[in-house]
Subunit: 316 residues, 2 copies
């Protein structure tokens, strides 16, 4: 009913009656973190403090910033946080050995190796070395398969899981809806597709995965009830990609030069927010949309890992 502009008979001009809804990732992530906090408290009362180890190889500035946010979130929730910083020249075997010792560390429930790693490191080998029971990023093949097989015991990558939670918390129905995902990466596009097509309340969608090879991408995107943009190209999705009344989830976090900004850049999504927000029913902003959800779901996965590893007595 809110999907079309209507004529205002008084003013004689077109305007939109539709109140575009901003999907507030900060608010939802705060709710997720609040839930996690309760679960951590319960676990701690039972003598189990969840632990997360973050491994950084090299000194990429953006990676450092991400890691700081993760550390901060752990501290706020009372999750035991370990940061392992390795020099950029660390050999692959040393990194794998470090992971192996975290695998057997009883105080550590989650292990995350910050991406990207230096070029001489085989990220696939790194992921396969992490104990799947501690793979809170959800990238280990065992967890990839669990997602496809709809096994609830696995870990789902944090970003798609966060997108799903946003949809759920805003009461956006996915059942039977046409979800178009732009991007087919292992980190977002593919797991997002699996989540959305899985049976159940927050799935059951008709799912299309589009990408750089897609012919007439705007037309494919315009068939979406829910459009999820994960292409990594600043403001790539414009109003020509949007069906009136669609829901838009913007996964992109891109730095674009901005002389006027304090840091010399500003963050924009994969979606041209101003153009798209005119047409859509609901949209996530950047920043403040999917971004905060990713860290919140990492915390949630860490709590889940702790519960699963330390037995049903721990917090369930």
């Amino acid at each position: 009913m809110f999907s079309n502009p209507v004529l205002d008979p008084g003013a004689g001009v077109w305007f939109s009656m539709r109140p575009m809804q901003l999907i507030d990732g900060k608010a939802v992530s705060a709710r997720v973190l609040e839930e996690c906090k309760g679960q951590v408290d319960e676990l701690v009362n039972k003598g189990c403090r969840p632990g997360l180890a973050v491994v950084l190889v090299g000194d990429d500035a953006a990676s450092r910033a991400y890691i700081r946010s993760k550390e901060r979130a752990c501290n706020e929730l009372g999750i035991h946080s370990v940061k392992l910083e390795l020099p950029v020249e660390t050999a692959q075997e040393e990194l794998l050995a470090a992971i192996a010792s975290l695998n057997v560390d009883a105080d550590i429930d989650g292990i995350l190796v910050q991406s990207p790693t230096p070029g001489h490191i085989d990220e696939g080998a790194v992921v396969r070395t992490i104990d799947p029971a501690k793979d809170v990023d959800g990238f280990h093949p065992e967890n990839v398969a669990k997602l496809v097989l709809e096994d609830p015991g696995g870990f789902i990558p944090c970003t798609p899981l966060g997108c799903q939670r946003l949809l759920g918390d805003y009461g956006i129905n996915t059942k039977g809806a046409h979800v178009v995902i732009v991007g087919r990466s292992m980190i977002v596009g593919k797991p997002m597709a699996m989540l959305m097509m899985a049976k159940g309340m927050l799935g059951d969608a008709t799912v299309t995965v589009a990408h750089s090879r897609t012919v007439d991408l705007p037309a494919v995107c315009r068939s979406a009830d829910i459009l999820i943009a994960a292409v990594g190209r600043p403001e790539f999705i414009g109003s020509e990609h949007i069906k009136e009344g669609a829901v838009v989830i913007d996964v992109g976090i891109n730095r674009v030069k901005d002389e006027g900004a304090k840091r010399g850049y500003r963050l924009v999504g994969d979606v041209n927010f101003d153009a798209v927000s005119e047409r859509c029913k609901a949209i996530t902003p950047v920043p403040g949309g999917v971004g905060p959800m990713t860290i919140a779901m990492l915390m949630s996965n860490t709590v889940k890992a702790c519960r699963q590893r330390r037995g049903s007595g721990a917090g369930d």
Copy 2:
């Protein structure tokens, strides 16, 4: 150019210039088996005869028929074939123990447990017990993950692999094409989606997975350049699901009662062949389409397993 009916100026009536092409699964499967035969001969010359073990629990008539076809294919190619028939009351542990001994049997490269198994058997546990290196059905979680991760060393389920081969052999371009898959099973729908969206010559498609929850399925199907039907409902897909000039792959094999037929039934696909073949550019028949490809790809996977297990000296 062949996608629309044109006016015949002489006759003044509409007719179709488009020659509908039958996608001949028997012919393509014969070619695949021919290739396999060459590879088996090479392997045998090097002292390695590929071996396939098929396990049947109970005495389902259809399963017996499938197994006979598999055995026959093995015999024709010179693949060592082992059939293990277990009574319907076989306990799960006995079945798992039988698989475990096939896992360590050096003469066996591929292991397949015929589905469906009796109700007391946990099929997930069965699949996880099979050595992934011998999992020629491609259902083990490790192989599921390899397909998602686009790792060419894994085994891809035979039916979707056969569909892809049919498209390839008929020169049907998937790159950028819109492939709509109806059905989201682990055996066909999901692996088919992964294959079609993967990077490369026989992938790179824009992929939509539709299913029982899809709203306006005919409209979704009509957006397909390539429609793959895997719903398991006889003649469910009609002309209203087909865009003029689409390619249709019918995965269904359904028995419908037919008093006139010798066995009292006939086989039909998920597609209403007569109605759909009027509109489409190319279509697989049932029988004689996807069916024979499934067994051919099983042979191909068995040869691959043998080569991978017994080292690069064996046949490469």
